[in-house]
């Protein structure tokens, strides 16, 4: 069972993602923001991170850089309300991005693809 870390400062998003992804058979853990996120990843070894871009205290794209620098191969899916972040070249270090929606079909599809890409090597 793949373990997914959902990082988002909005509680209802964490709850929604957790519930839906658990129904898909994933083990889900959550984090409210970027504080000690790298330690958490180091400790809990998630197979994939779903990362909010705009959090109150943290810039998700900076966190993405930090994650890439330390966990070179960990899949990261950016989750955002708007797609203007793509203007920032840092976003290309993400596996995929999804626009936040109550329909998580796209997120689930991207998670599957990212995990398959790692498994196929």
């Amino acid at each position: 069972m793949a373990k997914i870390l959902v990082v988002d400062d909005e509680e209802h998003i964490r709850l929604l993602y957790s519930e839906e992804l658990r129904e898909e058979g994933y083990d889900v853990i959550t984090a409210e923001g970027g504080y000690r996120l790298l330690d958490r990843i180091d400790r809990e070894h998630p197979d994939l991170v779903v990362l909010d871009i705009k959090m109150v205290d943290y810039d998700g794209l900076d966190l993405l850089q930090d994650i890439r620098n330390k966990f070179y191969d960990l899949p990261v899916i950016l989750s955002t309300a708007y797609d203007t972040f793509k203007e920032d070249m840092k976003s290309i270090a993400a596996d995929f991005y999804v626009v936040k929606s109550f329909d998580l079909g796209e997120l689930k599809r991207k998670i599957k693809m990212a995990l398959e890409a790692r498994a196929s090597e």
């Binding site: 850089q65 899949p75 693809m113 398959e116 890409a117 196929s120 090597e121």
Partner: protein, 412 residues
């Protein structure tokens, strides 16, 4: 990259025998530009690798325009070595083979490659390409800020194809500025595919990138800003020789790495290094002649229609004919059709269905049609929006990979 049995001409006035960092400047009749490139490289080495022994090596293709004299005559605090291919031997691949051999001899930890023709090179390029090697990466590929119609050979075929094959998103797999460590140097020196003719020419860059990807070593992309070339070999209508060498090399490597790429599903990103370059000058406007692209596409039918009919399945050929009948004002070349044609060509080259040169040259007019469609679809887009368009095309390649795998297995 086989060692040449021919002698390499060398001038090493400061008798350099060891170096931690090597900057290699590849040139061919580059007397006009190489002084500036050498000065920038020397500044970068002193500013960012000052505690290490470094050397600048000009690897030249038997230039006749005083490239050597200008290079060795440029005043730098960093020692310089000049290497040249033997008389009459030209090719970027030969230059880089000489560089790798010399870097191994000097026991270098990092080799940074830049092209003599880039007038926009700054010392930061040296930092951004070289630093990741000392942070544990084995290969560093460049990320450029380019005009959307610059480098279509890369964005239209080299990038989507290497990405779909090996599952790694390296945006400039045939970029001419990159860096590597000694692990990769050993691979380059001894790899059995290194003797191919295309690898000795313009296919060298995509060959080196593909080998780095397939070795499974840590690789990253590094932002180097805007490449302002004195002579662009890769505009919206690439030179025939560059097209044949680059595409031919990617196809050739598919045979060698067939077990690997057939297992790969989807793709994953590559780490990015080098943000914080400050304001990067926007690339200049690039004039594109839609009429020239359209004409080149249509001319392909006069020259290659029979060959295309024999290579492509009926459905694909009929779709190509439908595209031909579109007026230039409403011209559109579906990405799915382009992916299918590229896949068919890859299998055809592997099957040696026709002479390699003719086969690859016959793909170029179709590529011009695809490029015309890209120009029309992205004419009102920003660079970033055009990049998204390219990303979507890559996803289409990935979604259609099963066709390639089936076709490839069917040939065996």
């Amino acid at each position: 990259m086989k060692k040449s049995s021919k002698l390499v001409y060398e001038e090493n006035p400061e008798k350099v025998e060891r170096a931690d960092v090597v900057v290699g400047i590849s040139s061919s009749d580059s007397a006009e530009f190489i002084g500036h490139t050498a000065e920038q490289a020397a500044s970068g080495l002193l500013d960012y690798f000052g505690s290490k022994n470094s050397v600048i090596i000009n690897v030249d293709s038997d230039s006749r325009d005083r490239t050597k004299e200008v290079f060795l005559g440029t005043t730098t605090e960093v020692p310089k070595v000049y290497l040249s291919t033997p008389p009459g031997t030209k090719g970027r691949g030969h230059n880089l083979r000489n560089l790798v051999t010399k870097a191994a001899e000097l026991k270098a930890e990092a080799v940074i490659v830049v092209d003599a023709a880039f007038k926009s090179i700054t010392p930061l390029w040296i930092k951004n390409l070289g630093e990741p090697i000392f942070s544990g990466f084995s290969f560093v590929s460049p990320l450029y800020l380019r005009h959307k119609y610059e480098g279509v050979l890369t964005s239209g075929i080299a990038y989507p194809l290497t990405r779909v094959l090996y599952g790694r998103r390296v945006r400039q797999p045939s970029g001419g500025d990159f860096a590597f460590g000694m692990t990769m140097a050993e691979t380059y020196l001894h790899h059995p595919t290194g003797g191919e003719k295309a690898v000795q020419q313009a296919g060298i860059d995509v060959w080196m990138t593909t080998l780095a990807i397939t070795q499974g070593v840590p690789i990253c992309q590094s932002f180097v800003g805007r490449p302002n070339m004195q002579r662009s070999p890769d505009g919206v209508m690439p030179q025939v020789s560059a097209f044949v060498d680059v595409v031919g090399t990617v196809f050739d490597l598919m045979g060698f790495f067939q077990e690997r790429w057939q297992k790969v599903k989807w793709s994953k990103p590559t780490a990015v290094f080098g943000f914080g370059m400050g304001e990067v000058e926007a690339p200049p406007l690039l004039e594109v002649s839609e009429a020239d692209l359209y004409r080149a596409f249509l001319q392909g039918f006069s020259q290659y229609q029979t060959l295309w009919e024999s290579l492509l399945d009926t459905k694909t050929f009929n779709k190509l004919t439908e595209v031909k009948n579109l007026p230039v004002a409403h011209f559109s070349f579906p990405s799915e059709l382009w992916a299918m044609i590229v896949f068919r060509y890859a299998v055809a080259q592997s099957n040696q269905l026709t002479d390699r040169q003719t086969l690859l040259e016959s793909l170029l007019p179709i590529f011009h049609g695809k490029s015309l469609s890209f120009v029309k679809k992205t004419e009102r887009m920003s660079i970033q929006q055009a990049e998204e368009y390219i990303e979507n095309e890559c996803m289409i390649f990935e979604e259609m990979k099963s066709y390639l795998a089936a076709d490839w297995q069917g040939k065996q």
